[in-house]
């Protein structure tokens, strides 16, 4: 399907299939792909993480602020990572221990994180990385004659996550958890820590994406939280075939979804559509994807829980 779209768009749009455009495309969607990998972990575990963008933006903004204030960069980046993991664990705690539906938990925690960061740490919407930290900017650069680093990062993340999900016990547990949480619990899986691990992973992988964003643009703009980026991420995941009912999908589906959305976004950019029109189209596509998903994986009316 991606291929078909790709071919059609190549035929229709001038300048679509040039190498430069392809690399631009790759750079743009790599970050989206990385975030989608994180989201996929949670969605496979039958959850959803709406706070992912807020978490990554705030923790990387705080990391950048610390670098600017003279911390050793490595320490600052680790600090941001710890922060992101803590937010993830907090999400997991609310979802699993207090049993708040994930949608509400992450919606509220996103607001909370963003509000606190803006009020206490980042008074303006953006923090610029002060000059002198070129090694960070390398993350947004290219190697080997034009291959973008984000793409490599995406590939590494995808490979590692694939191995994690398919070759480790915890990875298999996440599938079991998403497939039937009740059964997973009954068969002795500690689902509460598992949930915390899922959300922490989503936040961690998101944070990696955030640092790469900083590397690409040398700033962290908190407005990204209020943009529709989180829906691009969900769109990638759902379109790729990671069903929202949990327990289905893998890294390959995320990659497929990433390509599909990447091509779509790129096409819309080349067509010079304004951002609102792009949002409307993306929304329409996501709506279709959700309808298709609920058609393919219908909820069992007799056992369905409400509030998701």
């Amino acid at each position: 399907m991606t291929l078909a779209l790709f071919v059609v768009l190549s035929a229709v749009l001038p300048g679509f299939v040039t190498l430069g455009n392809l690399f631009t495309l790759a750079r743009n969607i790599s970050i989206l792909g990385i975030l989608a990998l994180g989201m996929a972990v949670v969605v496979i575990g039958r959850g959803i993480d709406l706070s992912q963008i807020a978490t990554l933006a705030c923790s990387s903004a705080i990391a950048v602020t610390l670098i600017n204030s003279g911390w050793p960069p490595a320490a600052a980046i680790v600090f941001g990572l710890v922060l992101a993991i803590m937010i993830g664990v907090m999400n997991g705690y609310f979802v699993s221990v207090i049993e708040i539906p994930p949608l509400f938990t992450t919606l509220a925690s996103g607001l909370l994180v963003l509000g606190l960061t803006r009020a206490l740490v980042v008074p303006h919407y953006q923090v610029f990385l002060q000059p002198g930290h070129e090694f960070l900017l390398l993350l947004g650069g290219t190697v080997l004659g034009g291959v973008p680093v984000p793409l490599i990062a995406f590939a590494i993340c995808a490979l590692l996550l694939h191995l994690f999900l398919s070759r480790t016990v915890i990875g298999r547990f996440i599938y079991a958890h998403g497939d039937n949480a009740q059964a997973a619990r009954m068969s002795g899986i500690a689902t509460r820590p598992l949930t915390m691990i899922e959300y922490a992973l989503s936040a961690t992988i998101g944070y990696i994406g955030g640092i790469i964003m900083v590397g690409s643009t040398s700033l962290m703009h908190l407005q990204v939280v209020e943009s529709t980026m989180i829906f691009d991420v969900i769109l990638v995941v759902v379109l790729g075939g990671v069903s929202l009912v949990g327990g289905r999908g893998n890294v390959l589906s995320v990659i497929a979804g990433t390509l599909l959305i990447g091509v779509l976004l790129n096409a819309m950019t080349i067509m010079n559509l304004d951002i609102q029109t792009q949002d409307i189209i993306k929304g329409g596509v996501l709506l279709l994807a959700i309808i298709l998903d609920s058609y393919i994986h219908p909820r069992d009316e007799e056992t369905a829980k409400q509030g998701d």
Binding site: I48, F94, I98, E99, I100, P101, L103, F104, T105, L107, A108, S109, G110, L111, L112, V113, L114, G115, L116, T117, R118, A119, T228, F231, I234, L244, D274, I275, Q276, T277, Q278, D279, I280, K282, G283, G284, L286, L287, I290, I291, S294, Y295, P298, R299, E301, E302, A304, Q306, G307, D308
Partner: protein, 704 residues
């Protein structure tokens, strides 16, 4: 969650700002507050309706913003008349609601994500359109008096949009609690599965919930347009989150079906006052965002935990004993010489249907002397005359049948616990008489269902009077009602002529046996926990009056039935004891008992030993019949006289007793006494010792 929680929060927030902000309670300031609140109230209501249906509608903020723009555009740019504009904009809200509802109900998508995507699409469309028409809108104006009034008018000093909010809120409340389709929405919300099993059109109800939600949001947009006359880029941004926080804070459960409109509005008022107050105090906007996020998390957490543990909590606090003070009763000791003195008159009762019946709470005999009784499993069992050896299941109703009566057409009417009143025709067909009474209009809780229909009788005009013993407990834990001793029951009347059922007396302490007097002009009924017999007049000059006929009985009265000599039989299901009387006079003791020790350790009314007494129209007790030790007949709940014999039934017993009455009329039958022309004993004895009383109304603590 009880409404008291959000209400207290609201007061706390309000008082806090009164303390912190000078001039907060001045009239203009209050009017300003009231003027700017309604739109958010409407959006919160829209959100509440969708949550109550078991879903969620995040598109309300965008629907609101778009409605704001459309109102201005239709009215000022296209210069449509105001009514047409309002209709069109409401139609817009309904359309988006229909899209949401269509996807959620019919395509079975998930409410949260679906409406969120709709929100994004609408928001993007709004930004695009407002950008395009900004110039035209800025240049347009409307000089419509009604429009101006809608934007800035007052009614009795209250801003007109606030009046709109209150009116719509009350209408919505009644819709969700009194109107069929609204109640269906609530039913679907509380349990989709149960609603579908009950035959409710789940999809249509869901669909309607979202349509209503969209319409309310667009109404908010109209009012906002009238007040502000602008459609800015930030109009309605984040309102859906505020509305969500408001609904949850008001105590509307996210699992659906629990909550009311008033709670949503209280929650909305809290959020509104908070944001408004924080702005006035000069708080950083982001901090406000964070506070809303924190409130949302805390409120949802509280709500989830509350709903989860509500059962445990209720179990602890549901039983609320009240004060019942007794005088010492007449003695029942064998040598006391009172009319209640224990004797052996039931000791040698012959046992009918021994071990062929489970719990014959009531018995009745027809003109052919066949004996009918109720069985624990929900059927009416018939034992054939003359020797009552042949047992057959006469009819199967279900539920737990209790008291019985024969009407003029020889149908057997039965009270069925948990179901209502049913009838069985002589050809064995079962029909429903009634399963609900009129709803008390001033009560928030729907009390129209019958909980524990207990005993009934038929008046000469065919009206059926029956007791609904308690409206707080099911048959399985009816004894808990005894620990309360509170006015939880009622006497209900069903008129077959009109098919209408209505409550005639309420707040009664376990009204149990019901019997129409021999002259057909009054209904005798007993209050089990108060150990009293009452007379309620239904004809003559005293019609509608209630009198206390006998007070301070030594046992707990159950069914009452006519005797052949113009008097009445009454069964004592249990006997009072001084120590339990003392417990009834100490509600705190009973409360501690129910809370702190397991049920099998509780002190209960003694219902393992009873007797049958006879009293007359003046309230004089004439004789008593005992089975000492309750070997054959404990828990006696009823007795019937028939052709010189007395038949005895009991709620927990395995047999029906029969004793020969020394001076019973051998031709007398119950049906003749009621329905044959010479059966009516119109002696017209005016009772002498009766005094009108008013029932002590126990204070009602309404449940959740």
């Amino acid at each position: 969650m009880e409404p008291i929680v959000p209400f207290t929060l609201l007061l706390v927030v309000f008082v806090a700002f009164i303390v912190m902000i000078p001039g907060y309670t001045s009239i203009p300031q209050l009017q300003q507050l009231m003027r700017s609140f309604p739109e958010q109230g409407f959006v919160a209501m829209a959100m509440a309706v969708s949550i109550l249906s078991g879903g969620l509608d995040l598109s309300v903020g965008a629907v609101f913003a778009m409605a704001d723009f459309l109102t201005l555009y239709f009215l000022m740019v296209l210069e449509w008349p105001l009514p047409l504009t309002i209709v069109a904009v409401m139609g817009w809200g309904a359309l988006i609601g229909a899209i949401n509802g269509g996807l959620i109900a019919y395509a079975k998508t998930r409410p949260f994500l679906t409406t969120m995507v709709v929100l994004i699409i609408l928001r993007a469309a709004y930004n695009k359109i407002t950008g395009q028409y900004a110039v035209e809108l800025a240049g347009a104006s409307s000089d419509n008096a009604a429009w101006d009034y809608l934007g800035g008018g007052f009614l009795f000093g209250i801003p007109i949009n606030m009046v709109c909010l209150l009116v719509v809120g009350i209408v919505a409340h009644f819709y969700l609690t009194r109107i069929r389709s609204g109640v269906h929405i609530m039913a679907v919300g509380s349990s989709r599965k149960a609603a579908r099993h009950a035959g409710i059109d789940v999809k249509w109800s869901l669909f309607m919930a979202y349509v209503l939600s969209g319409m309310m949001a667009s109404l908010a947009g109209i009012l906002y347009a009238a007040r502000q006359n602008s459609a800015g880029t930030d109009t309605g941004v984040g309102w859906e989150v505020n509305a969500l926080a408001a609904a949850v804070l008001g105590g509307i459960s996210l699992s659906g079906g629990r909550g009311t409109i008033s709670r949503a509005l209280m929650g909305a008022a809290i959020i509104f006052l908070l944001i408004n107050g924080l702005v006035q105090l000069g708080t950083h906007g982001s901090l406000t965002t964070a506070i809303i996020g924190a409130i949302l998390l805390a409120a949802v957490a509280f709500n989830v935990k509350f709903v989860k543990n509500k059962g445990k909590l209720l179990q602890k606090i549901y039983v609320t004993p009240s004060l019942v003070e007794f005088e010492p009763p007449a003695s029942i000791a064998r040598d006391s010489g009172t009319v209640f003195a224990e004797n052996d008159r039931l000791k040698n009762a012959e046992a009918i249907a021994l071990d062929k019946i489970e719990g014959p709470e009531d018995i009745i005999l027809d003109e052919h002397d066949h004996l009918y009784t109720v069985n624990r499993n929900g059927s009416i069992i018939r034992f054939l005359a003359p020797d009552y050896e042949v047992r057959e299941e006469f009819a199967r109703i279900g539920g737990r049948p209790l008291g019985m009566a024969l009407d003029r057409d020889k149908n057997i009417l039965v009270c069925v616990a948990g179901m209502g009143v049913y009838g069985v025709k002589p050809d064995r067909t079962v029909f429903k008489v009634t399963d609900e009474t009129n709803r008390t209009w001033y009560r928030f809780k729907d009390d129209s269902r019958l909980w524990l229909a207990d005993d009934l009788d038929v008046a000469p005009d065919g009206k059926i009077y029956f007791s609904d013993a308690t409206t707080r407990y099911d048959l399985s834990d009816w004894a808990l009602d005894g620990f309360e001793g509170r006015g939880n029951g009622r006497i209900v009347c069903h008129d077959p002529a009109t098919g209408k059922t209505s409550t005639v007396l309420s707040n009664l302490a376990f009204p149990n046996g019901v019997c129409v007097s021999h002259d057909g002009r009054s209904v005798l009924w007993v209050s089990t926990w108060l150990c009293r017999i009452y007379r309620y007049w239904i004809a003559g000059e005293k019609a509608g009056q209630l009198e206390l006929l006998v007070d301070n009985l030594p046992g707990y009265p159950d069914n009452v039935n006519r005797a052949s000599d113009g008097t009445y039989w009454l069964a004592f299901v249990g006997l009072r004891s001084p120590v339990y009387d003392l417990a009834m006079a100490d509600p705190a003791f009973r409360t501690r008992m129910v809370k702190q020790i397991p049920p099998d350790e509780w002190m209960c009314p003694g219902i393992n030993n009873g007797c049958v007494i006879k009293f007359d129209d003046t309230g004089r007790v004439l004789e008593s019949w005992w089975d000492p030790g309750g070997r054959s007949h404990p828990t006696i709940t009823s007795m019937r006289e028939h052709k010189g014999y007395l038949y005895i039934g009991g709620l927990e017993n395995n047999r029906i007793g029969r004793v020969k009455l020394p001076n019973g009329d051998v031709n007398w039958t119950g049906w003749k006494s009621y329905w044959s022309s010479n059966g009516q004993n119109n002696s017209g004895v005016a009772p002498s010792n009766v005094r009108p009383i008013t029932t002590a109304k126990a204070k009602h603590v309404s449940g959740a």
